[in-house]
């Protein structure tokens, strides 16, 4: 029994070690930043890198994971009951043109943007992400 509890604690610790971006870090990004400057701010590496080409222009895309909110999923059992939260994680795409940060957001945010150039890129990005996910 003690081994099972120890294994559970180790697993929980390992899962909690996985790092996600948070919005107060993303708030520090601005247009025109280089890839190096962005990585320095985020202190994290992308989970995926790929390119999208729209109207003959190629954009580099870095895919990160961001923690958007936490959900209360229940209470632990036993006498010392405590609330259990589960983090909601979304893919977050950073778009670079000529090595400079042009836009960043979730797929939904790309499709809803008021930025015309990005709204054009949005459809191609959506297709590329679907393609990559299907290949995987």
């Amino acid at each position: 029994m003690a081994i099972k509890i120890a294994a559970f604690i180790v697993l929980c610790t390992l899962f909690s070690c996985k790092s996600y971006l948070i919005f107060n870090t993303i708030n520090k990004l601005h247009k025109g930043m280089t890839k190096e400057a962005v990585l320095k701010v985020l202190e994290d590496k992308p989970v995926k890198e790929f390119t999208v080409t729209v109207n003959g222009q190629t954009y580099d895309v870095y895919d990160f994971e961001v923690k958007t909110y936490s959900n209360l999923v229940g209470m632990s059992g036993g006498t010392n009951s405590f609330p259990l939260y589960q983090d909601n994680i979304d893919d977050y795409y950073l778009l670079y043109f000529n090595g400079k940060l042009r836009y960043w957001g979730t797929l939904v945010e790309y499709s809803e943007t008021e930025d015309y150039e990005i709204s054009v890129i949005s459809k191609e990005l959506y297709n590329k992400v679907n393609l990559l996910n299907n290949v995987k």
Binding site: F23, N24, T79
Partner: protein, 129 residues
């Protein structure tokens, strides 16, 4: 013993609710561009966590006043009205609310002035918080 633990848990939960400076994104839905500072602070249940003034490099004569709220992330109803765990800015110019939103939204907006306000406000807030 169980009763004591239960009472303690409830007390801590209640205290943390009242002391939590974070607000739901729903509470900011009543804000409208054009409102005065006094109207904005009276409409939001909790006080802003910070407020400060900035000037832009591109137009130093213009002053902008920033209120900072902290948003409690939430799923929203069927994904609509979803809020993110993040700071949230209300930007005033001449005591008139001209923009409210997440800093990252300001920084990636097509409007270059809003980009500069966002970038300057984030940098200033990093210094004072």
């Amino acid at each position: 013993m169980n009763k004591i633990i239960c009472i303690l848990f409830c007390t801590i939960s209640l205290l943390s609710c009242f002391s939590n400076p974070k607000i739901s994104i729903y509470e900011l839905k009543e804000l409208q561009k054009g409102m005065a500072y006094s109207e904005v602070v009276s409409r939001v249940r909790k006080k802003p966590v910070n407020e400060f003034e900035i000037r832009l490099n591109s137009s130093p004569s213009n002053k902008y006043f920033i209120l900072v709220y902290e948003i409690q992330g939430s799923q929203g109803f069927l994904g609509v009205g979803r809020g993110y765990d993040s700071d949230y800015f209300a930007v005033f110019k001449n005591d008139t609310l001209m923009y409210m939103g997440y800093p990252f939204d300001m920084n990636r907006h097509p409007d270059a002035t809003l980009n500069e306000i966002g970038r300057t406000a984030v940098a200033e807030y990093e210094k004072i918080k």
